[in-house]
Amino acid sequence: MSCAVEVVNLSLSYDFSEEKTNREKQWIFKDLNFKITEGDFIMITGHSGCGKSSLINMINGVIPNLKKADVQGDIYIHGHCVTNSPVRERTKAVGSVFQNPREQIIFDQVADEIVFPMENINETPQRMRDKLNSLLSMTGLSADAQTDTLSGGEKQKLMTACTLGMGQKILLLDEPLANMDARSAKELLELLKRLSDEDGYTVILSEHRQELVLPYVDKIFFCVKSTDENVEMTLEIRDKAEDYACDLSSLSDRTSREKTNVAADAKQVFSVENINYQVGDRVLFENFSWQINRGEEWVILGENGCGKTTLLNLLFGFVRPTSGAIVSPYSKKRNKRKIGYVLQNPDYQLFMPRVKDELYLNASSPEFVAQLIRLFGFEHMLERHPLSLSEGQKRKLGFACIIANEPEVLFLDEPTVGLDDEGMEQLLYALQILNEKTGNDRTIVTVSHDKRAIPYLGDHFLVLSHCEPYLQFCNNKTPPTSELPAPMLTERAI
C-alpha cells in the first residue's frame, strides 16, 4: 500500500508576535512526523482544545488558507507536496466533513445538496445522476427528502455523501459524531469502515468520544501534553485499537455522588400529566406522564431528535404541550428565576465584557463564585473577554454562571460535550458543592449522550425512544446498559 498522507516536521502556532524567535514562540504542536497508508482508518483523539481539529484543518488546507496561523513543515498527499496549495487544489484529493451539518446545508432537497459539489467540479449530468443514485443507496437517504426534516445523524450522513460525491479517496472528518446518538454514530462509522475496508478509502477522523470509534479504527493518534513548555501537544501513535482502553482513571471518587437523604415523601416539583406534543406532523410525546420530586437527579437519555431538549423546554415553559398539563410551582413567573438552565452551546449565554462580570451577574453569594473560580481555574482569566476563551473554557464558564445563581432546579443540556475528563470532573464536583449547600435538596434534570458522564449525572434515568413502549423508566441507580461504555464505567461508577 502506498502512502496517502505524509507529514514532515509539521508545526503550528497562533502566536504572531514578530519579535519572538521560533524557540520562544508558543506552539500548538511542533515537528510532527507521521505517515498514513492508503485504506487506513485513523482516529485522532485527545482532550478538547488539544489541536485535533487544527491537525485535520492543516491537512485539508483550511489552515493557513482560511484561518490565519504560522505553519511550518511539509504535507504530502499521495506523494505530492501540498504545503503551499490552496484549499481548492487540496480538495481534489481530500474530502472534508465538519461539525454542525445544519449550518452547512444550503439546499431544500437532499439530491440538490449531494450534487452541489459535483456541479462545482464540472461533472457531467449523467455522471452526477449515477453517483447520486449510488450515494443515496449507500446512505439510505431519499432524494426528495427535505433537508430541514432530517435528524442530526442524517444531516451528517448527507454531508458525508456530498464529500463522497467528489470522488476523493482521503476523507477527513472533524468530530462528525458530536451531538449524534449512539445508533446514528454507529451507522455513520459502519459506512466509513465499509469505505475503508472495501473501497480503499483513507479515513481520518477526530473524535473525543473514543469508546464509540475504537471498534472501527486501525490506528489511534493520541494527542498528549508535550513535555516542552513552549509546545502544547505531541502525538502518540498507537497501532492496535484493541489494546487501547479509555483512560477514565482521572475521575476521582468525589464524582460518584451518593444521595441518601432524599425524603421518601419529597415534594413534587414537576408533574407532567398526560401531555401530548407534536411539531408539525411529528408526534414527540403522546399521553406522556412523569413526576419529578425535589432532590431527585434525572438523566434523560435517548436517540437524537426524540425530544430530550424539547422535554426540558416543556418543563421550563419555553414551549407548551399541545394538550395535557405540566403542574409545577416553578411555572409561575416569579419562580422561574429559581430554575437554572445550562444550554448546550455557551455562545448563547455569554455576553458580558469580562469573565468576572459574567460570573457575578445574578450571583447569589460572592463566596460561592470565588469557590467556582478556584475550581474551574478562572483566576488568571477574570479580566479576559468571555468570547476569547477556548471552547472548553467557555462551556465551563457558561455552566458556572448559571450555577452561581444557586438555582433550586437545574436543567443541563449536554453539559459535558467537548469537555475532557478533567473538565468533566470539575463540572461534577461543582454540582456536588451546589448540592451540599442545600443538603442535597437540589433537583437536577440532565440531557446527555456522553457515556462517560451518564452514570455520574443522576440516579434516575428516563429513556425516550421512538420504538414501543414509547417511554421506558429506569427508576434504579443503574443507567440502561446500552448507555454505558462497556466495560470500564459499569465497574467503577455504580
Partner: protein, 183 residues
C-alpha cells in the same frame, strides 16, 4: 491613508455578506409590507434605519472591501424581489448611493467613518427610489407622497439619526468582538 480600490471578494466574504443580509432582512422584515404598500414616503425609511444600519455596519467592519454594501443591497433586493418586485430597486439604489457617497468622501472601509456613513445613510437613500417607483407605479406626485412637509422632514431627519445611531452601535459591537479576537 490608503486610496480607493476594488478587491476581489472571497467565498468567505460572500458567505458572510449573505448571512448579514439574512439577519438584516429578519430585522427589517416586519417593516417590509409597509414599505411595499405605503403611499407616503418617510415612515418606511424611519422604521428600517436602525436595525439595517446596526447589522450592516458589523458586516462592513468584517468585510472591508468596496462594494460590500452593494452586495448586501443586491442580495436583499433579490430576495425581496420574490415577495414584492419593486423592493429590489429600493434596496439596490439605497445601497449604491450610500456606499458610493461614503467611498467618495472617505476612500475605503479602513476608515471607520466610511462604515458609519455607508450603513447609516442607507435608509435615507432608499427615499428617492421609493418616490420614483410611487410616481411610476401609483401615479403619485412628489407633493402627494410627501404630504405634510414638517412630518416628512421629521421622518427623514429621524431616519438619518437612527441610521447613524445604529451604525455606531454596530461599530461598538465590532470593536468589542475584535478585542476578543472574534472578528
Amino acid at each position: 491613508m490608503k486610496s480607493f480600490r476594488f478587491q476581489a471578494f472571497t467565498v468567505k466574504d460572500i458567505v458572510f455578506l449573505a448571512v448579514i443580509t439574512a439577519v438584516t432582512l429578519l430585522a427589517s422584515g416586519p417593516f417590509a409590507p409597509i414599505v411595499m404598500t405605503a403611499s407616503k414616503i418617510g415612515p418606511q425609511a424611519f422604521a428600517m434605519a436602525l436595525p439595517f444600519a446596526l447589522v450592516t455596519s458589523i458586516g462592513l467592519r468584517k468585510v472591508k472591501k468596496s462594494g460590500s454594501l452593494l452586495i448586501i443591497g443586491i442580495f436583499s433586493g433579490l430576495v425581496l424581489l420574490l415577495m414584492a418586485p419593486v423592493m429590489f430597486f429600493n434596496q439596490f439604489t439605497g445601497s449604491l448611493f450610500s456606499e458610493s457617497l461614503a467611498l467618495l468622501l472617505f476612500k475605503n472601509y479602513e476608515n471607520r467613518k466610511t462604515v458609519l456613513m455607508s450603513s447609516g445613510l442607507f435608509a435615507f437613500f432608499t427615499l428617492p427610489s421609493t418616490a420614483v417607483v410611487n410616481i411610476l407605479a401609483k401615479g403619485k406626485s412628489i407633493s402627494e407622497q410627501i404630504g405634510n412637509p414638517v412630518t416628512f422632514a421629521l421622518f427623514t431627519l429621524g431616519a438619518i439619526a437612527l441610521g447613524l445611531i445604529g451604525a455606531m452601535i454596530g461599530n461598538k459591537i465590532a470593536d468589542e468582538l475584535q478585542k476578543a479576537g472574534k472578528m
